[in-house]
């Protein structure tokens, strides 16, 4: 089952590896990212950051959707990580069982017009995508670490 889906532009890093994986009881990490899945150097780096006792699978967003829909991921306590609102949107549209998305961190870009929180700047386009997901009943909550209080994005849009 999916334990958590997280948007974090830094993918697997200290906080994610240590705090989140154990807090949610994940035994498998799926990094759904087009660029990384084609880049052997980044794949190697990610493999090194893999939390102990946790399987790491790296796939493009499309391949991730296919795998999720096929049921092969069902036996795992799965932690899905994507790097952007856009990738989260694509995944949630392709695999309809995503009911909740944790928004942890976004890369500051020039076209970001708003900061939903300190670590989550968003562009107009991101806002549209988030609105659509919220309207479909998907919970989108901002939290850096598991112990933080959830900030519900629907209240900020």
């Amino acid at each position: 089952m999916i334990k958590l889906m997280r948007i974090d532009y830094r993918l697997i890093h200290g906080q994610v590896a240590m705090a989140w994986t154990s807090a949610i009881g994940a035994n498998c990490l799926l990094v759904a990212n087009d660029a990384v899945s084609k880049d052997s150097m980044r794949i190697t780096t990610l493999k090194l950051a893999r939390p102990a006792g946790c399987k790491l699978v790296i796939k493009s967003v499309e391949d991730s959707i296919t795998a999720l829909n096929s049921g092969v991921t069902d036996p795992y306590n799965l932690f899905i990580i994507v790097e952007s609102v856009e990738d989260a949107y694509r995944l949630a549209k392709g695999y309809r069982n995503i009911r909740s998305i944790n928004f942890g961190g976004a890369k500051p870009q020039k076209d970001c017009t708003r900061k939903l929180s300190v670590t989550t700047p968003v562009s107009e386009c991101d806002m549209q995508l988030l609105k659509e997901l919220v309207n479909e009943g998907i919970e989108i909550e901002i939290r850096q670490v598991p112990g933080d209080e959830k900030i519900n994005v629907s209240k900020l849009l």
């Binding site: 794949i43 190697t44 699978v57 092969v72 991921t73």
Partner: protein, 97 residues
């Protein structure tokens, strides 16, 4: 500034129910030496050779600071000192579902 004086002041100011883990920069350094001579009566845990991984590990487990757990964290933190240049060639199999 006399480190021993500073440490004695800290020892005297502690709340009786507080438990302390002290992490110093380097084993054999003057600061660690001053803590060591006060360790038996001081009732604190002392670790020399601070590194960030160790600090994070301990900080995330403040409710589990037994002698055993702290010793285990110290042991595990040794794995955090990595010469990265050799790693890139390590590779390994790509995992699948």
């Amino acid at each position: 500034m006399d480190v021993g004086v500073l440490i004695d002041a800290w020892l005297a100011s502690r709340h009786v129910n507080d438990r302390w883990v002290v992490i110093t920069d380097i084993f054999g350094g003057s600061v660690n030496n001053e803590f060591m001579v006060r360790m038996a009566d001081g009732g604190f845990m002392l670790i020399a050779g601070m590194n960030l991984g160790l600090v994070i590990e301990l900080a995330c487990g403040l409710d589990r600071l037994s002698l055993e757990n702290v010793e285990q964290s110290v042991e595990q933190s040794r794995a955090g000192i990595v010469f990265c240049n050799n790693l890139a060639t390590a590779g390994g199999e790509d995992e699948e579902f």
